[in-house]
């Protein structure tokens, strides 16, 4: 079963790798599924308007900031074992050690991750995911996808999300009822994040003339930035091109 699943992923990966990777210009958009993506975007926006936005407003009003921070710390802490695996797969061993040390410290001294003493010691979060691991192995980002309830992604990002779920060590160590609670915690944290970044999300979703296109460029540019595919100076457009 596991072998079959991994085999399927491998076939997809070799297909994507054949599409070749390399740095992508900052404004590059590859969106052959735009029509479907736009329909999903409207669905996501409706879900946000009727459920997520009101829930996050209530959450922000009812739950004190200290508790919201603790939930956020705790959810971020749970992501660290998976991130450690990805750092190892990427050959970034120093980052893997820092992430593992952060997890050890915050899970113990930080009371199961509610607090973040590791950052005070300079052991900052080094976020990564399997999408980045795929990029390190030369897999191209592939077409843009907007996923139901999740939002912006790419083919590579989506495969990475599935893989992240499979390689997360926690799910093999934590027994069943607790595992579901942790899933719930991640859900609550999502509501919290929607509250923390409400100005930005509202700007993007409700104040822009084409929220789909705005979200797409924001997602793609931010994702490329997080993957250290820095703006290449040679790729900068001519700033005086429209000096008419």
């Amino acid at each position: 079963m596991t072998i079959f699943r991994n085999g399927g992923v491998l076939v997809l990966l070799s297909f994507l790798a054949a599409c070749s990777s390399g740095p992508v210009p900052a404004e590059h958009i590859n969106d052959p599924f735009e029509e479907t993506n736009r329909q999903i975007h409207e669905f996501n926006k409706a879900v946000d308007a009727v459920a997520l936005a009101p829930a996050s407003a209530t959450y922000g009003a009812v739950v004190p900031e200290e508790l919201r921070d603790a939930v956020d710390n705790s959810a971020n802490n749970l992501a660290l074992p998976g991130q450690t695996v990805n750092h190892i797969l990427q050959g970034e061993f120093a980052d893997a050690v820092q992430t593992a040390a952060r997890f050890a410290l915050n899970s113990t001294l930080g009371v199961a991750g509610l607090f973040d003493p590791a950052s005070d010691l300079g052991l900052f979060e080094l976020p990564t995911n399997f999408g980045e691991t795929l990029q390190v192995y030369g897999v191209a980002e592939g077409p843009y996808l907007e996923l139901p309830l999740i939002g912006g992604s790419t083919v590579r990002g989506t495969l990475g999300m599935v893989a992240d779920f499979a390689i997360d060590p926690l799910q093999y160590y934590i027994p069943s009822p607790e595992r579901e609670y942790l899933f719930l915690l991640k859900g609550v944290d999502l509501v919290g994040d929607r509250h923390t970044y409400s100005d930005l999300v509202n700007l993007l979703l409700y104040e822009s003339s084409d929220s789909y296109a705005s979200q797409r460029i924001a997602y793609l540019q931010n994702m490329r930035h997080n993957l250290d595919t820095e703006l290449v100076v040679e790729d900068l457009e001519d700033p005086f091109a429209f000096d008419y």
């Binding site: 460029i217 540019q221 703006l231």
Partner: protein
Amino acid sequence: MHSITKNPALQRRAFLAGAGGLMLTTALPTFAVALTEDAAVGFIRTVVADVHKIINSGKSEAQMLVDFEAFFGNRSEVSLIAKTALGAPGRSASRNQLAAYIQAFQGYISRKYGRQFRDFAGAEISVISSRYAGSKGVLVKSYVNAQHRSDYDLEWWVIEVNGRPKMFDLIIEGISLISTERIEIGAMLESFGGDIDKMTAKLLVS
């Protein structure tokens, strides 16, 4: 990319580019001269000081927006940003249409981004490094340590216009203001069937 510590090779290149540009300046007064990295970094330090002053002034949001618009008009090349966001459709616009659009764009963009500043009282922006891009200007990287939210990267694209450094683009966690506004202005123009005057009227109230 290199850190703020001096890089002789890059400085020499910047100097030569500057010298080359100087000769051109005599012939073509408005031609952009390549900016040195040091000048761009110094300029961004001034800009950061301006931003710190506004966000920590303790003024009301409305007053901060006024300060921000003045800051934006002074430190960035607003007309070029506005024209870049509008792109090709601007070429066929009349002089008056374009002037009205640029004026409206300045207010719109100052309100839109100025409003984001209200959460940033106490934030600390530190300049980290810079990259030289020849005649395209200099990218200056900074790091924003904000209270109550994650830290983030803020990159400033500095160009030289008529011998003075100006902001051209702001890149927040990889997201370019120019790219964002190009999409926004494009979508707005399309929704008015390509009518720049109607779009300008909309910008005035956005």
